[in-house]
Amino acid sequence: MILILTSSDDQSTLEVIQWLNFYGLAWVKIDSSTPLTLIELILDDKEEEFIVETPSGDRIDTRKITAYWYRRGHLKLNLKYALEDYLNDDTQRQFEQHMQAEINVLIDSLHFCLAKKKRLNTFQTADLNKHFVLSKAKDAGLKIPATLVTSYKSVFGHFELENGSLISKAIQHGIRFRLHEKKGWTEYLTYTESVDASIVPDLFFPTLFQSKLDKAFELRIFYLNDDFYTMAIFSQKDEKTAVDFRNYNFEKPNRTIPYALPEEIKVKLSALMKSLKLESGSIDMVVTKNNVFVFLEVNPVGQYGMVSNPCNYHLDQKIAHYLNPSP
């Protein structure tokens, strides 16, 4: 039995499941909106396993799990407890917070248990600290952009003198927010942006700056167990996408074509992914006009369909192959 943990709206999960069905492989899918009831979690000399029950009464016993795909999302456990009603509100709140904290640790334990299976990623590695990842990339011998976090204009100015034009981006996550406008809800996302030094105030919220790379093109690489599926994105020609290709131009989309990574870069990326304990992930790089490969980040739960479809890489099928217990 193959276990898939995912979010309920993920298209890629459905595509992989079609291949699992085609190969006649048994699977079970849990998504973040499914509250599970814990039947047992056992840890002894012989085994580390658990059994949970879904709302429809199906039992998932990890002893029967041959492979585990952490696609995205998280496990959700039913909270069941009754507090004595003589407790005052304040004490009740303290108890509730405590119970929730205990449950969160318990959920962590389940994730640890799943991580011991033959697996494609884990919950623990779903959201890696970007600073940590850049540091590991540097250790693996990859070039990274000079990166500064500061609140002070003077520090920023000094860094700009040394590194030329800068971009700013989120320290960890961009924000996605929705505004109610005349036409209904409009979604806004923040992108990596060029920095206009003239409008930087003396003191500001800690902000991450990186040297602006002179891009020839960008790379989006899907890594799967030491195999690389790379797409080159020609985003630099279009003003809209020149700094961040995710600021899509839907009318005339950026050219996206298959690309073969140099062996030397593959070796370094493999080392990085192993040090991050990732079996798969979407890696972003930039190739500069001087042909220097610069590592930007890795997203363990990224949308790989945007690489698979334009390059005809059949990644859904390849993931299904990886999950097959007897390939």
Binding site: Q18, N291, P310
Partner: protein, 338 residues
């Protein structure tokens, strides 16, 4: 700095025809006509600099060559690259996790088969596209029952040809489209007038309700081939390279309940109920038609549109298995639509 060479992008693929060629832009889903001389140039020079071209074709051709290159640049069919060997060709394989990807079921008032068992079989085969063609009036309650039974099936997209009926107002049809998001096209035939509705309340504003005065009372309306049916994308292109773009992984039920590749084809494979879809798939006579690709079909094999075009094996010129579709009026030798 290395010398930069021009190279076509891997998803912009030239296809040569008898009198002219096209470049299929599989990413932007578009194509452009080009003269065969440009096609030949691109084959002879997979990488080039303008100087190299002028050296090869002569100074007299300079203007034409520069015009060709700026055409390629303007459409972003290629780029000037210094690291060209890393830009690999596109993988042109086609495969799908389904025994059957598409199906047609025809119905008229004399039909005596049940839909649901067929739906169940199609679901087991992981069929994704279904076309239902009702040649006569069909009851509203029954239609809703049928569509409800597909709610949790493998079918992702349902196209319906429906006989106009007093039982359905435009509102009813639109409600149907909203209730059953799997319906991607609803064509109401034998209507009083040609009308077209976009439903602003539907979550996909592409989904349209189409009334046509055309009377679709049997399968003979099918098999037309023209440029409106072209699909220039990776999925279609790669399938067309290997397989028949109409019949591949298709199974149909005609109005008499007979299993067939397509209802318009005369060869039948037994009546549903007596025979199963699954058993039919073992029959090589049934599946062999799947691999009749355009490169094997007379005239089509010389046509520049062969990998973006649809096909028809039921109505062919002179009724021959490998002649061009009878309902195609393009002549690739003259480059003209008749």
């Amino acid at each position: 700095m290395e010398q930069k060479y021009f190279k076509l992008f891997a998803n912009c693929i030239p296809v040569k025809g008898a009198s002219r060629s096209i470049i299929c832009d599989l990413q932007r889903r578009d194509y452009q006509l080009i003269p065969n001389s440009l096609f030949d140039l691109l084959m002879s020079f997979p990488l080039f600099t303008i100087t190299e071209l002028i050296d090869a074709y002569g100074e007299n051709e300079r203007e034409t060559l520069i015009e060709y290159v700026s055409f390629l640049e303007e459409h972003e069919f290629g780029g000037w690259l210094n690291d060209h060997s890393a830009f690999q060709p596109l993988d042109l394989t086609w495969f799908k996790p389904s025994e059957i990807t598409n199906s047609i079921i025809d119905w008229n008032k004399d039909s005596d088969f049940e839909f649901e068992p067929i739906f169940n079989e199609l679901n087991d085969l992981n069929c994704q596209y279904l076309q239902l063609r009702f040649f006569d009036h069909f009851k509203k309650v029954r239609l809703e029952e049928l569509l409800t039974s597909l709610d949790r099936s493998s079918i992702l997209s349902i196209e319906i040809f429906f006989h106009d009926s007093l039982e359905f107002t435009t509102n009813d049809f639109q409600r149907l489209l909203r209730r059953f998001p799997r319906i991607t096209r609803l064509i109401v035939h034998s209507a009083k007038e040609n009308r077209y509705f976009n439903d602003p309340e539907h979550f996909l504003d592409l989904i349209a309700l189409n009334y046509t005065t055309q009377k679709i009372t049997d399968e003979a309306h099918c098999g037309e081939v023209h440029s409106g049916y072209f699909s220039c994308n990776i999925d279609h292109f790669t399938e067309a390279k290997q397989f028949n773009t109409c019949l591949n992984k298709k199974i149909s039920i005609d109005k008499k309940g007979q299993i067939c590749n397509c209802p318009s084809m005369t060869q039948k494979f037994g009546k549903i109920g007596d025979a199963t879809l699954n058993a039919t798939l073992i029959n090589e006579e049934f599946t062999t038609k799947w691999s009749t690709n355009k490169d094997q079909i007379e005239t089509c094999k010389d046509c520049e549109f062969r990998y973006i075009c649809s096909d028809c094996r039921a109505y062919t010129e002179g009724n021959l298995p490998l002649s061009k579709p009878a309902k195609c009026n393009y002549d690739p030798y003259k480059g003209e639509w008749n």
